[in-house]
Amino acid sequence: MTPQRPPTLARVARANPARADDERGRSAAAQVVLNQILASDRSGGPHPVRRRSRRVLVLAMAALLLAVGGALAATDPFGLFRSPNPGTAIYGVDLNRHVVPPTVYQIECPSTSGHGFRCGAHLGGRKYMLLDHVQASGPRLTRPFMQRALRQAVRRGQISAQTGHRFAADLAVVSDDFLARLSDLMRHATLTASLTSDGKKPLAPPPGVPSLLVCEPAAASLSCQDMNGDDHAAIGSGIYRAVPSADWRPAPPQRRDPSWQLEVAILGHAPTPAELRVLFDLATPASQSSSSGTVTTTTAPTTQAP
């Protein structure tokens, strides 16, 4: 700073509309943010989250739809598209909806019931922390796309020429309708957040309090809903994790996700052998790539498709 300012700058300085408070960084609110930052991974997203591969889920859901029809996903009478475990959400991405990604780091929700409840920075209520944003699951699995991806995979050495030929032969005998359903299923994924207060014992929120929210901007606040079971999450939506509070209790033992039950129950009979082969063909290259990753990793379809 120069010792003597021109009068204009002095006048501007005196009109300073927001003077710095040097103690603000030690306030309780600032310390909460500091702790959250220090708890996050310096190389990427926050620690306590992992995103599973879509591979198993895709297999199970594909088998389900082939067996009992696509209408099931819309009505979900058996709760198969929701995870029974606290901290886990099964969700679907709406590829036709994009929203501006919210950046509010910590939000508060006065109410957490129903669809489209309001949350914001200083609204009071349950606290949630920003973890990630919903990402596009990738282009649709059309036949031309899959054939092109196969050729690329062979060219890049990701699969052998022999395997490429086999996959192409499998692909040739399944219907376009099957591929369309499969493409729709690729929208789905699971997200698991480790919910702890001390980094040791898993906790669960009280009944009715979602552990993961998906939020879209809405006027001056956010419109949120439970991520678990949301089949139309817009691309760019914020994914928020609940912050444990005093009324949280030890989490019950983990139960098998519906995807696992479905895989065991259905994979044996409903799909045709050719369709099953394509499902496994799809899964094979994915198991060789990094399709399951951290919060910030996009599960790119090009790594899932051959």
Partner: protein
């Protein structure tokens, strides 16, 4: 707590207020917390790149966060003047002529003036914050100051009220 965490915490606690004031002047109180949190999150992830004198660097990060925030806000609220520097309701009636002239400056002009007058940065540090050289910043500052003076003087360039102000160290 590791050494890195300790060092970061010290910087966070000592500079939080400055960065918060910077953000508050540009996006208002509501969004300032969010901008500051995101700024320090970036700082944490890029802590290795943080220079020994971190404040101008932090202002640079905060500036990018603010720009992104404004872009998002502008998309969400079409028609609202999201790029206008927000005036806090602390002293709206104080020096109305200045605010009137201020509102006629460009975003760039306001930014260079604010970095020196409100953030109290030296020219070299302010230039670093904007990613330009010190001479270039000096030229921008000079032009912005002259433009503000002309606006304050009115269309005829008559009696300039600022000439009667005392200097502020």
């Amino acid at each position: 707590m590791s050494d890195v965490e300790t060092r970061f915490s010290e910087i966070y606690e000592s500079l939080y207020g400055r960065v918060h004031a910077y953000a508050r002047r540009r996006v208002g109180s509501e969004a300032a917390d969010e901008v500051v949190a995101e700024t320090f999150m970036v700082a944490w992830r890029r802590f290795d790149a943080m220079p020994r004198e971190p404040l101008p660097w932090l202002y640079g990060v905060a500036r990018n966060v603010v720009l992104r925030h404004r872009t998002a806000a502008a998309r969400q609220q079409a028609g609202r003047r999201a790029l206008e520097l927000e005036r806090e309701p602390t002293d709206p009636s104080e020096d109305p002529e200045l605010w009137e002239a201020w509102s006629q400056l460009s975003d760039g002009e306001r930014e260079v003036l604010a970095l020196v007058a409100w953030e109290e940065l030296r020219v070299a540090d302010a230039a670093r914050c904007l990613g330009c050289s010190a001479p270039v910043f000096s030229v921008r500052l000079h032009r912005a100051r002259k433009r503000l003076e002309r606006l304050l003087a009115g269309p005829q360039g008559a009696a300039n009220p600022i000439s009667t102000l005392t200097e502020v160290s």
